[in-house]
């Protein structure tokens, strides 16, 4: 058992959670989308293989065209699930007769995608959404794919307006933020992540920005030393209270001293949609101005 874990650790150390590096060249350019769009027209039956994609989809379309999703996607129960994100059931996907399957480079396994393509199914793989720009690009791409380009565009310009408005209220002065994604281990978000870009847009600085990888496990010493003004905990169910309590052991941290430890719904920070982005930014700015 130990050997298995040591091997897996190597993988995790390199990539962090939950991303996995894909060695194949990028197949998610605009060309891909156009090719598929021309061949499928407006896809009627859609399967989503990642919760983030489902959320993005919900912004563009009513859910009647979504015929399949994963166990973890947040949809009405009557939409059937094809299993979990790592190993969805190929059989069930086939049985649902989709026109197009949406997947992500980060969450879904290449082996699964290749298998589906081998069976003649159309799979579109979205790249990372590690910044506001990338989120918007992917959103537009999805709009094009689903034949709702103009709608997607409109949503984005609306959200950008909201964003500018909210950013007018960014308070003066520096503000350091520590994002806590997990309690045991103490995991945070580093550079080149959705979360990091959110923080950037709030006028604050992510104290883990300089870390070597995307999802560093931080030594609590570093958090003490970097003295964040704000601690934001990603909601983790029953463990959230424990996580919050843990900070009370270190009352010298500015955020703890001033009581500025907040809990944010996990989806806002971990499911990259343009809507979540703006919501998260506004929330953090609001907390910062208190």
């Amino acid at each position: 058992m130990r050997k298995y874990f040591y091997a897996l650790l190597l993988g995790l150390l390199i990539t962090g959670c939950p991303a996995r590096k894909d060695a194949t060249p990028d197949t998610t350019g605009l060309a891909d989308a156009t090719r598929i769009v021309y061949s499928v027209r407006t896809p009627g039956r859609i399967i989503s293989l990642a919760p983030a994609l489902t959320e993005n989809l919900k912004l563009i379309l009513p859910l009647d065209r979504l015929v399949g999703r994963t166990d973890y996607c947040n949809t009405p129960a009557q939409i059937p699930s094809v299993g979990n994100i790592m190993e969805p059931s190929i059989e069930r996907i086939l049985a649902l007769n989709p026109d197009i399957i949406l997947a992500t480079k980060e969450a879904n396994q290449p082996a699964v995608i290749h298998k589906l393509r081998e069976l003649g199914l159309k799979v579109f793989v979205f790249g990372e959404s590690d910044s506001w720009k990338m989120v918007q690009d992917n959103f537009l791409l999805m709009g094009k794919l689903l034949g709702e380009e103009s709608k997607a565009s409109a949503i984005l310009s609306n959200l950008n307006q909201q964003l500018s408005k909210v950013r007018e209220h960014v308070p003066v002065g520096s503000c350091k933020v520590f994002i806590q994604l997990n309690n045991n281990p103490l995991m945070t978000a580093g550079n080149n992540t959705f979360i990091n870009d959110i923080i950037k847009h709030t006028g604050c600085r992510n104290i883990a920005e300089d870390a070597a990888n995307k999802w560093p496990v931080f030594n609590i010493e570093e958090v003490i030393r970097r003295a964040p003004d704000l601690i934001i905990i990603s909601e983790m169910g029953e463990m959230t209270a424990t996580a919050k309590d843990m900070w009370r052991n270190f009352p010298d941290i500015p955020a703890v001293k001033s009581g500025r430890i907040y809990v944010m719904p996990a989806e806002l920070m971990c499911q990259p949609t343009p809507d979540n982005f703006v919501k998260a930014v506004s929330q953090i700015i609001e907390w910062n101005t208190k």
């Binding site: 874990f5 997990n182 045991n184 103490l186 010493e221 003490i224 030393r225 424990t242 052991n249 270190f250």
Partner: protein, 324 residues
């Protein structure tokens, strides 16, 4: 004074010095004469309990390895041979991945994880005890039941992983690889007293362990009941290992390697062997834990990785020179 006593004395001098060094070394090095408030918090609230716990856990694991190698008459036994780690793993994985009983976890707070680990460990111990007693606590019976249960527990852990979210899996795996990141003084005191009590009892039985290594038959001839001794020491090592695993996850290699190396240096007489193993184990884990939190700062590495790598390399170099 014999070699063992000299070495033990050496350890007793070196350990406080090294511990002090570990206190000041880290992501940033702290000077003792110019401490800011932040530095003070880091030293007393973060590093000190951690180093003390590392000393205790290292001592405990090394002691268990030493004892098990004696009563199982196998120089390659380690604290996890008898299935304890599997039980603890099931407990912790279930807590982290399936979703805990809300009220229970809230009430336990930061003690939730250690408690489920300890409970899982005890459950495993209980099962092994039951099976082994049917085999009249023979060496064979103990090892077999331990190994089989380990496999079963591994399977259960894999099963839980298969139905869990990636973040939950990663949490569980980080714990399984062993780390001393979540320590507080209360936990340290509870666990520390268990470990120290266990070590003292083991030391009292050191002569019996010597006799046990001669075989069950010879043990009887020399007035030692092999079944009783094995049973007692099995319980003691289970409690120590359970305590260690509860607070630090599954840190490998220390329990196997330290007693083995010490035996090559001070010989198999268990009085000196136990003392030196305990001291060496404490020193080793304190140093490797400091490395774990320093070499990739601000990132935190699981200490089990460091003990594995250092231990493995050291062991291989030893094998190259001597027959072990």
């Amino acid at each position: 004074m014999n070699r063992g006593a000299l070495l033990a004395l050496g350890f007793l001098i070196v350990i406080p010095a090294v511990a002090l060094l570990c206190l000041v070394v880290g992501g940033t090095n702290i000077s003792l004469f110019n401490m800011s408030d932040t530095d003070r918090t880091i030293i007393f609230d973060v590093r000190l309990p951690r180093i003390l716990t590392a000393l205790l856990v290292g001592a405990g694991l090394a002691a268990c390895g030493c004892v098990l190698q004696a009563i199982l008459r196998n120089p390659l036994a380690d604290p996890y041979t008898l299935g304890i780690s599997g039980g603890a793993a099931v407990g912790v994985t279930a807590l982290l991945a399936i979703g805990p009983v809300a009220g229970l976890v809230n009430a336990l707070g930061s003690f939730g994880l250690p408690l489920t680990a300890f409970a899982g460990a005890l459950a495993a111990v209980g099962l092994v005890f039951l099976i082994a007693s049917k085999q009249r606590f023979s060496v064979h019976g103990l090892i077999l039941s331990g190994v089989i249960l380990s496999f079963i527990f591994s399977g259960i852990v894999m099963l839980i992983f298969a139905v869990s979210k990636p973040t939950e899996i990663q949490s569980a795996m980080f714990w399984l690889m062993g780390n001393l990141a979540n320590i507080n003084y209360t936990l340290m005191l509870i666990v520390g007293s268990l470990i120290l009590t266990g070590i003292i009892i083991a030391f009292i039985l050191a002569k019996d362990m010597d006799v046990m290594t001669l075989g069950d038959e010879k043990a009887v001839h020399l007035g030692v009941s092999p079944q009783t001794t094995r049973r007692t020491l099995f319980i003691i090592t289970s409690l120590i290992t359970g305590a260690c695993v509860a607070v630090s996850g599954i840190i490998g290699f220390v329990g196997l390697m330290i007693p083995h190396i010490m035996r090559l240096i001070v010989g198999p007489s268990h009085r000196m062997l136990l003392i030196n193993s305990v001291l060496a184990g404490a020193l080793f884990l304190a140093v490797t834990d400091t490395l774990a939190r320093t070499i990739m700062a601000p990132n935190e590495l699981p200490v089990g990785v460091i003990t594995g790598i250092i231990g493995g390399v050291f062991f291989i170099s030893l094998l190259m020179k001597k027959t072990v």
